[in-house]
Symmetry: D2
Subunit: 291 residues, 4 copies
């Protein structure tokens, strides 16, 4: 690292604590606040947000930055502070980075003349998270089935970032992988990557043969009718956020085992996920000419 | 195939002849014209373009559709016909598909009230072609080096469609693969796919270690200065179209072996490439509601 | 299955119960005894060992066949029977198969004129178990580290069955894999399989870079001196049986995290492991001309 | 390299010349004789065999060492010398290494009290050659078919060194790979490596689906009956030495395209093959305590 930056990190869980330690290890000066329960974080200085923000070149908030009440997300602290109070501590030219900042936060920042940016919208972080999610999904499949992935038959529904990385990992583990997609371009990618391709609209005939079915599509692709076609002992792993892609109620009634796996990156690979946030923040600073 | 279509194919090389045979094998009715030298193509009827076009549900022109003089590209025929004359034979509601149609062709078609579409602009065909190109690049690397790819060190410059598929194939063959890109998102993909990542702007220190350097970027990334860093015996394979990405003159002077590999899909895998055109035409017809 | 066989299974855990169900599903007649706690096993008949053995074409004992006191291994039963009593129930021409039969069992069988064979000595079962062990080791590495395997640095010590399959799986998951071996032939295999090779005797310089170190060698290759070179946060996973290959005491003192992973096949993939026993028994019967 | 050795190389083709250059590059002293047509080989000294052998620590003969008449194999020289004359030039304690030495050569060496060893019998060289052969076979398949290996169906007959490495490479290129073997252990390896397994005795039903069939078994597994089942356009590649494993006459009559690919390592990867000989010679010297 050619240039030393002063970072102020406020709030967040152990992933944020590890991010702080990594930045310090890279040679930067790191202030932490609202993280008392993390204990001493090597190479960092625990100071008040007020002091930290006034001196820092860059403020980093956690992922997600706010809790459901709009307060700074502070699982490692007993103190509370609202988004607005926090933003008022930031000098005008100091960039503020955080994850899932939300519309209200962005508006407040703009009113205060601050440059806030949501690092969770950055493509490179989405890809790194998809890699960790795909690996976590492989782990869950191993844990939740009494068979080896090697020589098993698996279906991956959806061929976006996660579907792509997951299919490749499953194939590499020796599984016979079919991936489904709707768009001709994605179907072409599936074939180009050496997997069997099927249109999502017509995957019914395949369901009875699959040992594990992974869903990555945020829409109910595995409805009651399709769930009824899953073979006895077959496991469904839902990686889709928000409403999920599996009718859980129907699955329970039909006796199909379903695992809804959310927020895998932070859970299965907090250090790699922290490193991905760090890399993204570096990219943001580089583009701003700070680094 | 649930529905029988009448196809009229005019012009093109053996890839087009194979496309005709494949469509016939799928159960469709296929007219061919301007392909006399191909001999009899199983399952097809050789008739005049006039007769064929007037009866067909769909006209398919070759890739590229026209020669440099703007005439139909007819390497398998001694007859010549201009784009305009040809288009005048097409009934108004019959769709016309061809590869690299060009602006002038599209304008003529529009003036005549015809629906022409360039299948070479379709993403699924680009991906299938990238897969064939990547495989052809692996073949060339094997042919042009006295070493095995297994245990070799290779660099892939650029991480678009071809760079992605090529890196994966090289890694799978046992090479130690570094891929370069400019955008943070592409660098994230490289890491997520298990390769070593480097920014294209700073790949100099790596050049001396590489047994093979593949370029996929259509800009002179391998200039004289960089070529002078390539190790003795190192081979450069340029997959970039148009001006290419290697300074050929400098390479010749420096004694660096360079292979400029263009149009690989039709050359190394004409049948797979023909099948990709067929699939794309089917998609076009499906979207139009014809199939 | 062209021919119906009468199998008598006695003792064992749920893996044995699943083996019984699989044999029944293949169309064979299956007697089970000493497995009361398994409940009803679909397609099988629970009868006394006396009745079962007298009618069966083949007797299958569990893996391991005996407990430490030399009695039949019966975790699913409250009844006990000695190896000798059990063998006296077997008609002279009925083959007896079991896992880890041991010298004393074999001698008793020979005295009684019986043909007993240890299926655990069969190469195909060892390979199938190695595949399940390798997959289980990948799972443990995922569970026990806060990083993704993708982009991690891992070392596999020993390149026998497990080392070979494990290295391939780790590489496929995106890790940078170094494997070590002593014999030139194994080092050649490592290179041929696209991994970095190092002699086990000289792996010290690599230790500080490894995120995970897997040992497959049943001798103390990871002694105090080597453990002291492992990087902070590095994890050691020992897959070697008997004494293990890691000095656990030294590791505890040095603060190196060690996981001793034994008997993985039955634990992480009981169904696949049961199927592997079934396939091996079929091979034994085929070679005997019974199947 | 901690110790400098004096090597005397006599005879051989360009692979031997490259071996000489590699040894010199490693810092050793290298004498070459019977290689005049190779021109000057960097770092080596061209002297008479008499002078070279008398001073050397180790004599290296080519692969194969002798021609069909029992003379030193000297394609790069116009001079001739018999095996016996050559051996008479070697001091008693100087080890002699060569490839395919043959019985008569070994006997002569023994009579003269010399320590001769055939490096071609070493397992590590066989494995390195298998890797080069497998890669060459992939290259031939790419060159000889009008399709991409990606998404093709291929069969590999025999699962020894070559079959194993070839299957893995084909799978990695995106092909759907079935491998055949006779022994249960090899069938278990096929499954453990994530390929489809079939017994060689019963592969008939699969033949009609295969785009490419690779044979590695040195016995006529592809006889007239089996060849008649190969699909139109299917290609057979024979990698088996000696009599080969395909009935060439029947194939010609049936119109099945067959390529008999022999001696691939020296042809497709002379440098890697030369390096493998060097590594093997180093191992031999190390075991003798010379290195």
């Amino acid at each position: 690292m050619d240039k030393v930056i002063k970072f102020a990190l406020a709030g967040g869980d152990m992933r944020q604590a590890q991010l702080a330690a990594m930045l310090a290890r890279d040679g930067h000066r790191v202030y932490v606040s609202y993280m008392e329960k993390a204990g001493e974080i090597a190479g960092t200085e625990a100071v008040s947000a007020e002091k930290a923000f006034s001196d820092a070149d860059c403020v980093i908030l956690p992922l997600p930055a706010l809790d459901s009440a709009g307060m700074l997300n502070t699982p490692l602290s007993q103190k509370k502070i609202s988004a607005e109070e926090l933003l008022r501590l930031v000098p005008v030219h100091t960039p503020v980075y955080g994850g899932r900042l939300g519309k209200s936060f962005m508006e407040t920042a703009e009113e205060l003349g601050l440059q806030a940016e949501d690092y969770f919208l950055r493509e490179e972080l989405k890809i790194a998270n998809a890699a960790a999610t795909a690996e976590g999904a492989v782990q869950i499949a191993m844990e939740e089935t009494p068979i080896t992935l090697c020589a098993s038959r698996v279906l991956v529904i959806g061929y976006g970032r996660i579907g792509r990385l997951l299919s490749a990992k499953l194939k590499a583990m020796g599984a016979f992988v079919t991936a489904s997609a709707r768009k001709p371009a994605d179907l072409a990618w599936i074939k180009a990557n050496g997997c069997s391709a099927v249109e999502t609209a017509t995957l019914e005939p395949l369901l009875a043969k699959q040992d594990v079915i992974f869903n990555t599509v945020p829409a109910t692709v595995m409805d009651r009718r399709r769930l009824s076609l899953v073979k006895k002992g077959g496991v469904c792993i839902d990686l889709a956020s928000k409403p999920g892609g599996i009718d859980f109620e129907a699955a329970a009634e039909l006796g199909v085992k379903v695992i809804w796996a959310l927020s895998l990156p932070g859970e299965v690979a907090p250090v790699s996920s922290g490193a991905a946030i760090r890399d993204t923040v570096y990219n943001l600073l580089r583009e701003r000419g700070v680094l």
